[in-house]
């Protein structure tokens, strides 16, 4: 059984079609990259998979581990192992970062019939992950994403992912706004989470991130459709030639 099977997905926002028939199958352990120019529908795809409201599915279906993903509420998708590392992580003033992650993890555990972790056990797990991401302890005492730098926000997303251990990790433009050092740290964090059970969907505008997170498959999204799929070499070709030649081909 595939981990994720998207068939002929059509999505509109405010009556305007954004995704125009996407099909994509991801097997356990695979890393897929979605590339494409701005406005091609990359972020829409990530939000539809995570369940954000305001996106109307007009046709097609999405199966996740054999279940109809589109029937699940946002938090049910999270409990089932879908995680979206957001392009713009949201600030939660007054909500302590550590407390937030512990509440989130325990919500997952409760939903999956596991006992909640106490503060001591949780802190142990948290410390193990902090090292890999070179995150300052101070971030644990601060409010969620409040006053974090761009790089800190992105690393905090990956920290949450490491804590929640999802089956399907969607990384939406995780590289945007990162300098080369921060990019390497984030990529190391992501690579540490690669496993035969865990699949990833890496959405990016630039090939740069894919030098550090090597995908198994690369897809090019344009005007709401996947216009080309290939191996990692496709990313290099795009880096060299840009998107224009593909768009002309597609037209």
């Amino acid at each position: 059984m595939s981990l994720l099977d998207i068939q002929d997905l059509h999505v509109s926002v405010d009556g305007k079609p954004i995704l125009d028939g996407i099909s994509l199958r991801i097997e356990p352990g695979e890393v897929h990259a979605i590339m494409g120019p701005n406005g091609s529908g990359k972020s829409t795809l990530s939000h539809v998979l995570s369940g954000r409201e305001g996106y109307e599915v007009t046709a097609g279906q999405v199966s996740y581990l054999g279940r109809n993903l589109l029937d699940l509420e946002i938090e049910e998708r999270a409990h089932a192992g879908v995680f979206l590392a957001m392009q713009y992580p949201v600030e939660l003033p007054g909500v302590n970062n550590t407390q937030f992650m512990r509440t989130a993890l325990n919500a997952h555990r409760t939903a999956n019939g596991e006992p909640p972790l106490d503060a001591v056990a949780f802190m142990k797990r948290l410390r193990e992950q902090m090292g890999t991401l070179q995150l300052d302890d101070k971030l644990l005492k601060r409010d969620v994403n409040s006053g974090f730098s761009g790089g800190e926000k992105k690393r905090n997303e990956i920290l949450q992912m490491a804590i929640l251990q999802p089956r399907l990790a969607i990384l939406d433009e995780t590289d945007s706004g990162l300098d080369i050092d921060a990019l390497r740290v984030v990529a190391d964090g992501v690579n540490a989470l690669r496993s035969p059970e865990r699949s990833m969907l890496v959405i990016t505008h630039y090939q740069r991130l894919l030098e550090y997170i090597r995908p198994d498959h690369v897809h090019v999204l344009a005007k709401g459709r996947i216009i080309r799929s290939g191996g990692p070499e496709l990313a290099l070709e795009l880096e060299e030639k840009g998107y224009a030649w593909l768009l002309e081909d597609a037209a």
Binding site: G51, E53, I74, A78, V90, L92, G94, T103, A107, L164
Partner: protein, 482 residues
């Protein structure tokens, strides 16, 4: 997918769980107010004649006063002739006796409200005065307090037992001519709590009064007076609930605090009067004058309030900082939802040198709730090096609620410093989405954000009540989540 406003409406819907009526025979005066009503109240309470004369003076003044209309409130006219000014459970007679003599129906009422009056079951270290409509029905732990020299009793009892203390202090902070509702209260006040902490005594337990309005068409006009002599400490908490009725009921209290040299009074309120139904029918009008005077040098008064109930709240717990180096604090969480309105804040009147005040106000508006912060900071001519810091934050839930801020500042001393910070934020769709995508339910997300917003104020509550306040807020805003 559900549209956003529906989901938020559900998230803030809730049942008012204290809305039951106690079936008990009452001795209630017929509605209406004239001098004979005041004479009757005074006679029932066996008051000294000077008290009656003070009441009549206040009444004559009140009759000449216009109704205040400056608050940011939409308040229908109140018919003061339609209110009964005195109601007491018949079995009670006048004033509290020992617990064994209290009507079991009343004990059950308080038990149901989570305030056991039985000392065996009571919260450790908390003494309670229970005020039911117009009378105090029981006061717990009196013996333990008396051993420490602390007086904690109903104000009607204090008028008989300690008339000189009452005569000296009552009305010295809030005079009968202070404002419309204070004048009304001075004329008709029925019961309330008196606390006296002698010099150098640290009150050995938390004191609390639990106010309950039960009778219909009845107003509650209680009077609370707390006197802390030099070097003493006391922490006091009041709680309030009322049955669900489709009429509006008036609650017009006066609270006076007096702190002498180096004394400290901490006054906390968890106010959960019946707020009315979703259409705005019924609910309590909570029009209260609360003021503390830091009379002695280095004295310290702090007000903490969590206001979740009442159809309309109109109150400004204030501090007069008369003593040099005295400190005033005001910490407030006010929640309005449905059709509730609140116009609340504080006044910090700096008279002495080097006086300090801190104001932290957190307003939360949901549904069609309207929340106003109104605060006055006055730095008098003598207030050398006085300081104030005000932090005023508003949180909006949904798109039909409102938050308003009315800061007033009067600075007559050039060395004084006044700081005001204000923020307004909204619980955004993006915040709820973010939390849910991490596995939290919508209720958990709202609770987490709201509690984060209020935590500075909850920190100020006595520990036993901080948890209660957090729960009350969860119930207020979440409905389904228990």
């Amino acid at each position: 997918m559900t549209s956003r406003p529906d989901v938020i409406d559900q998230a803030i819907a809730r049942e008012y769980t204290q809305g039951f009526v106690t079936d008990i025979e009452s001795d209630t005066l017929p509605p209406g107010l004239d001098e004979s009503v005041i004479r009757t109240i005074s006679a029932r309470k066996q008051e000294p004649d000077w008290m009656l004369q003070e009441r009549l003076k206040a009444y004559r003044h009140w009759r000449e006063m216009p109704l205040p209309d400056w608050a940011h409130l939409d308040c229908p006219p109140i018919d003061f002739e339609a209110i009964s000014y005195y109601s007491a459970p018949k079995s009670q007679g006048d004033g509290p006796r020992s617990l064994d003599e209290v009507d079991p129906e009343l004990l059950r009422t308080y038990e149901k409200l989570g305030i056991p009056l039985d000392e065996q079951k009571a919260l450790a270290g908390v003494a309670v005065d229970a005020v039911f409509d117009s009378v105090s029905v029981a006061t717990t732990f009196r013996k333990e307090l008396a051993e420490a020299g602390v007086i904690f009793c109903a104000i009607s009892e204090a008028l008989r037992e300690y008339p000189e203390l009452i005569r000296k202090h009552m009305g010295s902070v809030v005079g009968y001519a202070d404002n419309f509702y204070a004048a009304l209260n001075a004329a008709v006040f029925s019961d309330g709590t008196f606390v006296y902490v002698p010099e150098g005594v640290r009150c050995p337990m938390e004191l609390s009064t639990y106010f309950r309005i039960n009778e219909s068409r009845t107003g509650q006009f209680e009077r609370t007076l707390i006197v802390a002599e030099a070097g003493s400490h006391v922490s006091y908490l009041e709680g309030c609930t009322a049955p669900m009725r489709d009429e509006n009921q008036l609650h017009a209290a006066v609270v006076e605090l007096i702190a002498m040299e180096d004394a400290r009074i901490k006054y906390s309120t968890v106010q959960n009067w019946y707020p009315g139904d979703a259409q705005g029918r019924g609910g309590i009008y909570n029009f209260v004058t609360k003021r503390g005077e830091c009379r002695g040098d280095r004295s310290h008064i702090s007000w903490t309030q969590v206001e979740t109930g009442s159809a309309i709240t109109w109150k400004y717990p204030s501090c007069i900082l008369r003593g040099d180096d005295s400190i005033g604090e005001f910490h407030s969480v006010a929640v309005t939802r449905g059709r509730q309105q609140a116009d609340t804040g504080t006044k910090m009147i700096h008279l002495g040198r080097n006086t300090r005040s801190t104001v932290v106000s957190k307003g939360i508006s949901a549904g069609e709730g309207q929340n106003s912060y109104r605060g006055l900071i006055r730095m008098g001519k003598r207030a050398e090096d006085a300081r104030n810091h005000t932090q005023c934050d508003s949180l909006l839930i949904g798109d039909r609620s409102g938050a308003h801020t009315f800061p007033y500042m009067e600075v007559l001393n050039p060395s004084a410093k006044v700081e005001h910070e204000a923020t307004t934020s909204r619980i955004g769709e993006d915040q709820l989405y973010y939390c849910r995508s991490r596995g939290l339910s919508e209720e958990e997300a709202v609770s987490m954000i709201v509690n984060g917003f209020c935590k500075e104020v909850f920190r100020e509550l006595p520990m036993e009540f901080a948890v209660e306040a957090q729960k009350l807020l969860d119930v207020t805003l979440e409905g389904a989540v228990g």
